[in-house]
């Protein structure tokens, strides 16, 4: 459920001047940036720490109990143990029990805790581009939970009459025309009380996030910051962009986003020296690649038969494996009665020769001459005599044990 079209139509709104041309806007290249939810998650986590204000436990906490104010002489006072004064001074400067325990178990929080995180500029821009790209994919926006059944088109670009809106009622009308109302309504209906102690810090209510409307001067717009785009550190927020006439005038056919992030070929005009990062796979459609003609031509056919590991059986015990290894046994047992066997033995080597001539197989007979051994270590050297032997036989040394 996800395709990217080269042209994006701008949704007309009521009250839009008919004279203004509402041609399709070519898609800025940012939206083809690689979608990296892992990068976005990392950057979002870091960036969302940056708006934190330091807070800590008071440094006097737990130390202002009445047990402190007993007043302590450095040396034990010369009072008899029986007197009440002695009991009174016995524990010097004892903190209250809970404070002591706390100091041992968890030191009090400090304001100089590292609240903010620095994130490299490049990776920040990568994350923003990634989040923008993801917001243009309907499946991902659906997966994040936005109600987009009635949105006419992704990427949602609306004509800039929307920017002149003053009243909430007209804003709602615009959302209706654009099909974003179910999402906004879901957000409104989702108001709930936040579980937990945050309520006490004035963050009592939580809502789902509805659509994010981006308008006006994009480079200045804070709305394209990552924390908005990827709220909840999920990429793909539903983003509604307005089609700013500023765009057409200054940059020709390149919409604003192109100038901000650059294209894959050109570097960005607004961000110095920044070029959009390319994805590892230009074409990530694996099934299409696998099934393409170029690949299928070269690929071996599917191996249907599965070779499984066979259990090794002992030939000495198992007749079938024995016969598989030595098929002659079968014949020996079944085909040769005793008399024949005796006859074969009697025939001797002559039978062998008749067998050879009968069977027409090539047998080379190589005769060797014995060469005197020069050394004493029981070695015998032989050399082939027949020179018509086609196979090259070297002199062989036979060792007797």
């Amino acid at each position: 459920m996800a395709a990217v079209r080269p042209l994006v139509t701008v949704q007309p709104l009521e009250g839009h001047m008919a004279t203004n041309a509402l041609a399709g806007v070519p898609r800025p290249d940012v939206l083809k940036a690689p979608m990296r939810p892992d990068v976005v998650r990392f950057v979002h986590a870091s960036l969302s720490r940056n708006s934190r204000q330091p807070c800590a436990v008071s440094k006097h906490a737990g130390h202002q109990t009445s047990a402190e104010s007993c007043g302590v002489p450095a040396a034990p006072s010369p009072v008899s143990p029986a007197s009440p004064a002695a009991e009174h001074t016995a524990p010097a400067r004892v903190p209250s029990a809970t404070c002591a325990a706390a100091a041992v178990c968890s030191p009090p929080t400090k304001t100089w805790r590292r609240w903010h995180r620095h994130v490299n500029v490049n990776i920040r821009r990568y994350a923003t581009a990634s989040a923008l790209a993801a917001s243009a994919v309907p499946s991902l926006v659906l997966a994040r939970g936005h109600r987009i059944e009635s949105v006419p088109e992704f990427l949602l670009v609306v004509s800039d009459t929307a920017e002149g809106v003053e009243k909430t009622a007209s804003a709602i009308k615009i959302l209706k025309q654009v099909g974003a109302v179910p999402d906004a309504e879901k957000a409104r209906d989702s108001q709930g009380i936040r579980p937990g102690m945050r309520k006490m810090r004035n963050r009592g209510y939580i809502f789902r996030m509805g659509p994010l409307i981006v308008y006006g001067n994009i480079p200045m717009s804070s709305a394209l910051n990552l924390v908005e785009l990827a709220s909840g550190d999920h990429i793909d927020r539903l983003v509604i962009l307005t089609y700013h006439p500023y765009t057409l005038k200054l940059y020709g056919e390149n919409p604003k986003l192109n100038s901000m992030f650059g294209t894959f070929d050109k570097s960005s005009e607004k961000k110095k020296g920044y070029v959009l990062l390319r994805s590892k796979m230009h074409n990530a459609d694996l099934s299409m690649i696998i099934n393409s003609d170029e690949v299928q031509l070269v690929v071996q056919p599917i191996k249907k038969d599965v070779k499984r590991h066979t259990l090794k059986r002992n030939p000495l015990k198992n007749l079938y494996t024995l016969l598989k290894l030595n098929p002659y046994l079968d014949k020996k047992r079944t085909q040769l009665p005793k008399e024949e066997a005796a006859a074969i033995k009697a025939a001797g080597p002559a039978r062998y020769k008749t067998m050879i001539s009968d069977s027409e197989c090539l047998v080379f007979s190589i005769s060797f001459t014995f060469i005197e051994s020069t050394s004493d270590d029981h070695r015998m050297q032989v050399e082939p005599t027949e020179s018509q032997c086609p196979v090259h036989v070297r002199r062989i040394t036979l060792t007797t044990a």
Partner: protein, 148 residues
């Protein structure tokens, strides 16, 4: 160029999406379901996923009357969720509806691998509509209705 392909979307979406329902523990005993409207078995897998596939089939009960809605997604309109679904409401007897489903899903070579799933869902929806006549319980976690 620059089609966002199904497998890529699936990699992003399979672990975490708003339709994912995980129950019964954290490991092997866990069941994972997916509540998207165009997931026929409601199973969280690539083949059945309504998010990652260009062609998907939805079968839902429609409205107050006992009609069953069969909806398929149009491949060319992936970018326009408003006009993405091709809906048809069926109000016939079961066998005829089954034939319709088979025609759309299998014989058109739309998603023949989803045949059994489509028929199974048709049976389930049909049966639930019969129950609805006598007053169904309103449950949480209902799927989103497709189209208008």
């Amino acid at each position: 160029m620059a089609t966002v392909p199904g497998p890529l979307i699936w990699e992003i979406v399979k672990k975490n999406n708003s339709f994912l329902v995980k129950q019964f523990g954290n490991s092997t005993a866990m069941v994972q379901f997916s509540k998207e409207p165009n997931n026929l078995y409601n199973v969280n897998s690539y083949k059945h996923s309504g998010l990652a596939n260009k062609k998907s089939v939805t079968i839902q009960g429609g409205g107050k009357d006992l009609s069953v809605v069969l909806a398929t997604t149009k491949t060319k309109k992936q970018n326009k969720p408003g006009s993405l679904h091709h809906r048809s409401a069926m109000k016939k007897e079961f066998r005829k509806m089954a034939k319709v489903v088979i025609n759309q899903v299998t014989d058109n070579y739309y998603r023949p691998d989803l045949t059994r799933a489509a028929l199974a869902r048709l049976s389930a929806v049909h049966r639930s509509l019969k129950v609805a006549k006598s007053g169904a319980k309103k449950r949480n976690r209902q799927a989103v209705k497709v189209g208008k």
